[in-house]
């Protein structure tokens, strides 16, 4: 690892990441155990879906509602869980937020984003010639911002600055999730080999 000026930041981040991993693993296992006991699944795809959803919920609930993406993720995952007898899950952590409020928030955010999209069409065309490169770059950035908004859960109703912040948190949580899942998978694989 390079000892850059941001090394200190790396260490701090790693320490926080470690604690995140613990929390994530705990919550994830809790949910899986709860689910596994009540609903014996046989299909691989069902199991995979359950694993993923419970991991998402665990990851989002760690945030304790402080980030937008976590709330949106919980909502989405709760909807996904509905097909798997949500009642077993929601007791644990699926409904951190009152569902009415979250649904309302979602609707509100959709409304806002829709109105924003409508209004963005009322714009002047970019000036030609010397400013074309700049407008191209701008368009690129806008397009990619839109793509990023689609990627990050609940990102449609964010402005650019908070979008970047949410992406930061989201990426970090995804990294934690991937690391834990990967080590679990690797471990299970080796166990099964014996």
């Amino acid at each position: 690892m390079t000892f850059s000026p941001s090394h200190r930041v790396d260490l701090k981040r790693m320490a926080s990441k470690a604690s995140l991993k613990q929390k994530f693993l705990k919550k994830w296992m809790e949910g899986l155990r709860t689910y596994g006991s009540s609903n014996p699944f046989t299909t691989v795809s069902e199991r995979k879906r359950i694993i993923k959803l419970s991991a998402d919920i665990a990851m989002a609930s760690i945030q304790e509602g402080a980030t937008k993406w976590s709330r949106a993720l919980i909502e989405n995952a709760s909807q996904g869980m509905d097909t798997f007898k949500k009642s077993a899950m929601s007791d644990d952590r699926g409904a951190r937020l009152p569902s009415a409020a979250s649904v309302a928030k979602k609707i509100a955010s959709k409304k806002i984003s829709k109105s924003r999209r409508r209004r963005t069409r009322i714009c002047e065309p970019p000036r030609p010639k010397r400013l074309q490169a700049r407008s191209i770059a701008k368009r690129l950035v806008k397009k990619r911002t839109q793509v990023l908004k689609n990627l990050v859960p609940g990102g449609e109703s964010m402005d650019d600055a908070s979008l970047i912040k949410e992406t930061l948190d989201y990426i970090m949580s995804l990294q934690v999730q991937v690391d834990v899942m990967r080590s679990l998978a690797c471990m299970s694989e080796h166990l099964h080999r014996k």
């Binding site: 470690a18 995140l20 991993k21 402080a66 770059a137 600055a161 970047i164 899942m181």
Partner: protein, 398 residues
């Protein structure tokens, strides 16, 4: 938000030389000295000496800001939140009321940044961030230089000084406060003349139209992504904006200040992202950086999918009793295999994101993995140490 709206209406009443609501708003303001309601409550009562404890410590740091600028700013923000379109701070109504609000500028500007949730108009910013928030290191904080106002410098320094010994949550408020500060400037910008330079004005206009409903400021957000120069430093132009704004003759310094601060904030956050996303150290463009971020997020999400599929195949019984499994395995592994000291605990995992490498991992890493996972899940204190060691190699390095 109710108090905000009450504050807006109260503001109008203040203009009518009557502030019956302010007394009841007082307790709110006293509680919320660092929370949203402050600017709204404080603003209507500038000449009141009771408010001095709030104002006085703040005035010094912002004495360099232009007086009228802040008045417009404050009124601008009120306009966002009051129900009726208040013409008070349009052209005519302003002049007689200006005088009484002049002394409060510096105080107001200071208090507003302390109320990020109020200004940001978005609830999540009010809440304390989760542990995921990366504390911006000193290199980040130093980059938030601001356009050149001494007030900005002091504000940021305050943020830095405040954040360095404190927790992540408070450190997070530094960018928040600067963002609020940006928004104030943005709102002022929205009120003032627009830029003549086409590109920035277009973007700004898009954004203004986007944010009409929720938030007037933030106009240069997408502009901020450009990392271009600030050539659009306040050339006046006539644009068609949906939202009604008064146009004021203001110094162009505030324009460039606001834009620069906004851009700095965005680029600061992009830099933080650069550290997270592997392989982005050399990228210096926002568009390319965004592309990388998108690819990375997509790849992470795909990995999650893949890993969950893999886990579902590996654990058909869905019995996640890690304790039993791990303890059994650890005991067996210790008995069976001598420790092979070649590899570190998770080097196999760190270096190679693909799962094809898993098959080649020897036993020693597995033992350590098991220990790590076991302790990760079930022993918080010692797990921290182990994870600290292992995550040093876990982090996918560029």
């Amino acid at each position: 938000m109710e108090a905000c709206d009450g504050g807006g209406m109260e503001f109008q009443q203040e203009n009518a030389a009557a502030a019956p609501n302010f007394e009841h708003a007082n307790p709110i303001s006293q509680e919320a000295s660092t929370v949203a309601m402050n600017p709204m409550v404080m603003m209507p009562k500038p000449p009141n000496t009771h408010r001095d404890p709030f104002f006085s410590p703040n005035w010094d740091s912002f004495s360099s800001m232009t007086q009228s600028y802040q008045t417009f700013v404050s009124h601008q923000d009120f306009e966002n939140f009051s129900f009726p379109p208040v013409p008070l701070w349009e052209n005519q109504g302003m002049a007689p009321n200006m005088a009484q609000y002049l002394p409060t500028h510096s105080g107001f500007v200071e208090t507003v940044p302390r109320a990020p949730c109020f200004m940001n108009r978005s609830l999540p910013d009010c809440l304390p961030q989760g542990p995921n928030h990366i504390p911006p290191g000193p290199n980040y904080a130093s980059n938030v230089e601001g356009g050149g106002g001494a007030s900005e410098g002091t504000q940021n320094k305050e943020g830095e000084a405040m954040s360095s010994p404190s927790s992540e949550m408070r450190r997070k408020r530094t960018p928040e406060s600067s963002s609020t500060y940006d928004r104030i400037k943005q709102s002022n910008e929205g009120m003032l003349k627009r830029d003549a330079s086409g590109d920035n004005s277009n973007v700004q206009k898009d954004h203004y139209e986007k944010k009409q409903r929720t938030e007037q400021p933030e106009g240069t957000n997408s502009r901020g992504k450009q990392t271009k120069d600030d050539s659009n430093s306040g050339q006046p132009a006539k644009e068609n904006y949906i939202h009604m704004r008064a146009r004021r003759g203001q110094a162009t310094n505030s324009h460039s200040l606001a834009e620069r601060v906004r851009r700095e904030k965005i680029s600061e956050r992009m830099r933080m992202l650069q550290e997270l996303v592997p392989g982005c150290n050399k990228i210096t463009g926002k568009a390319v950086m965004l592309d990388e971020i998108i690819n990375y997020v997509q790849s992470l999400q795909q990995q999650v999918e893949f890993l969950s599929m893999k886990l579902s195949t590996l654990l058909p019984d869905m019995s996640f009793d890690l304790e039993q499994i791990l303890s059994k395995e650890i005991l067996q592994a210790h008995n069976r295999e001598p420790m092979v000291g070649g590899l570190g605990p998770m080097t196999g995992l760190t270096a190679l994101p693909s799962t094809s490498q898993y098959a080649s991992l020897p036993q020693a890493p597995l033992d350590n993995e098991l220990q790590t996972l076991f302790q990760m899940g079930f022993d918080s204190t010692s797990a921290m140490d182990i994870l600290k060691h292992s995550t040093g190699r876990l982090k996918p390095e560029q």
